[in-house]
Symmetry: C2
Subunit: 307 residues, 2 copies
């Protein structure tokens, strides 16, 4: 295995934490903290606070700052957090990044500005330049967030090169949420000094074999211990065929549904707390029919969430 | 011509005002106010404060509120403003909408939440429901903003139906920025009780013939008087062949370039103020080569901006 040099500190299994909301659809911070604590206890190395799974961009800067402050003040460890900070507005990205650095977050997971489409690599690199300039320090770990199917804006290898050239001390990693192994493999091999995270648990083992950093995977919200065990076994060079297959069984079921609502539904059922099913529009809870079908699918798998 | 019933108050030529920025890339509010005043003097019926042309989503909620307050406090008429308020985050959209209503804006131009893609019409309708609920009143004029090429999220006719059904007193119009005449015509004819605005001046005359509301067009930032004259002539039933062709000559030149940077370049040149060329990343100024080519194109047209 090729270790990513210097950025190994980021390696591991990261949970992009779901954000429960109250009946006004405002962040339910106590529930959020409980959930974050639980996925760490279940084995995640760290938490991504405000990724796509956490409905990050459905919340205001103030809501995000308050939830992060509350989580850290409640004892959740910032040295085990990456904070999602990339917004459409430059000023918002600067503010969230500065705040996360001030709160000693281990890393920053940054989307490119995502309203305008078709920006050149040079323009996106200029965006990252301006963010770093606005934040006022190069002294943080920047993980670029490639999720073009949602954001509509790609982090191309050429863009990674530009950022690496200009901010060699800052750029630390890439999250690749394409779900495409060939793409993840290319990034891992091409950027062997960066921590490159596939965006799902099915690529953990294959990724580790070529020098990948682990995963940042939504599935960790409901299946953290199995994903962590898979990671550990793969890292130890064990045969992971059965562990991989077990993790895949759940992932493939969840894939039949809208992933974020489906995971919230699972937690709601496990906890007997229907409030957990809520999402902020434009995301919507599963229909009653789909919620029942998901429960039936999970029973057929004999999967029980210990939330 | 079929008048759009009740929403005629919105009819006209609207300028989605460019936002000049200072050397920190922060809104240059005095320049913004001057520019807004000028396009009104040049003949625009109204101003769209914070549309795509105004780089709305590149600015924070606070920056947008401050600029709008300053513009109104400086005497710009809110009764001639539509305010763009649609953000990725529900709470941001609510806050901007509430503020614009409190400042007596004539209308609200609202993007759907644009981070997540593939939301159903029902989910997007729920977003608008939640915004209106959050704002706490149905008593405003809502113009839905269809610009799928940029936002990645469409306002489908079925979605318009849902919003119209649930908020008949609020829904007042649609901006169609597809640039596709067949699509604009379909919307104008299908939603004859709404003010339907094509997103460019080339569809003003054709639109008015079937009951369209005018236009909300970026080109008004640099060619307002000619666009207004075209609108007036078309409304009066005059032959607009030559006026239309004149307006088209400039529009087709601008189309060769990135539109927003090109218009900022034109204003910078006209005013001898290079600061006007600045944009917030991910938008970028024209390259020097393109800036010169644009100037040559404009000279060949004998077009002079009287900014």
């Amino acid at each position: 295995m090729t270790a990513n040099r210097g950025n190994d500190v980021l390696n591991g299994v990261w949970c992009p934490a779901l954000m429960p909301v109250d009946d006004k659809l405002e962040p339910d911070v106590p529930k959020y903290i409980d959930h974050c604590r639980w996925v760490l206890e279940e084995g995640c190395h760290g938490l991504v606070m405000f990724g796509t799974t956490g409905e990050a961009n459905s919340f205001s800067v103030e809501e995000r700052i308050q939830a992060l402050d509350a989580a850290i003040d409640a004892g959740l460890p910032p040295e085990r957090m990456m904070v999602g900070t990339g917004c459409a507005a430059l000023s918002d990205t600067v503010r969230l990044t500065r705040h996360a650095i001030d709160r000693s977050a281990l890393g920053i997971l940054m989307l490119p500005p995502f309203y305008y489409k078709g920006a050149s690599d040079e323009a996106l690199a200029a965006s990252f330049d301006r963010v770093i300039e606005g934040v006022g320090t190069e002294d943080f770990r920047l993980v670029l967030y490639h999720i073009p199917g949602v954001s509509g804006v790609a982090i191309t290898p050429a863009l990674v090169d530009l950022v690496a050239e200009r901010h060699p001390e800052t750029l630390a990693g890439i999250k690749d949420s394409t779900g495409d192994w060939d793409h993840s493999k290319m990034l891992i091999e091409r950027f062997s000094d960066l921590a490159v995270f596939p965006g799902a648990e099915n690529l953990v083992a294959a990724g580790l074999e070529v020098g990948g950093a682990g995963c940042i995977s939504a599935g960790c919200n409901v299946n953290a211990s199995a994903i962590r065990a898979l990671y550990d076994a793969a890292l130890a060079g064990e045969d992971v065929t059965e562990r991989h297959a077990e993790v895949e069984r759940l992932r493939l079921i969840l894939q039949r549904y809208a992933l974020i609502p489906a995971m919230k539904q699972m937690i709601a059922d496990a906890k007997g707390d229907p409030g957990w099913t809520r999402l902020r529009p434009p995301l919507m809870p599963l229909s009653e029919v789909n919620a029942k079908a998901l429960m039936a699918d999970l029973q057929s798998l004999d999967f029980r969430l210990a939330a």
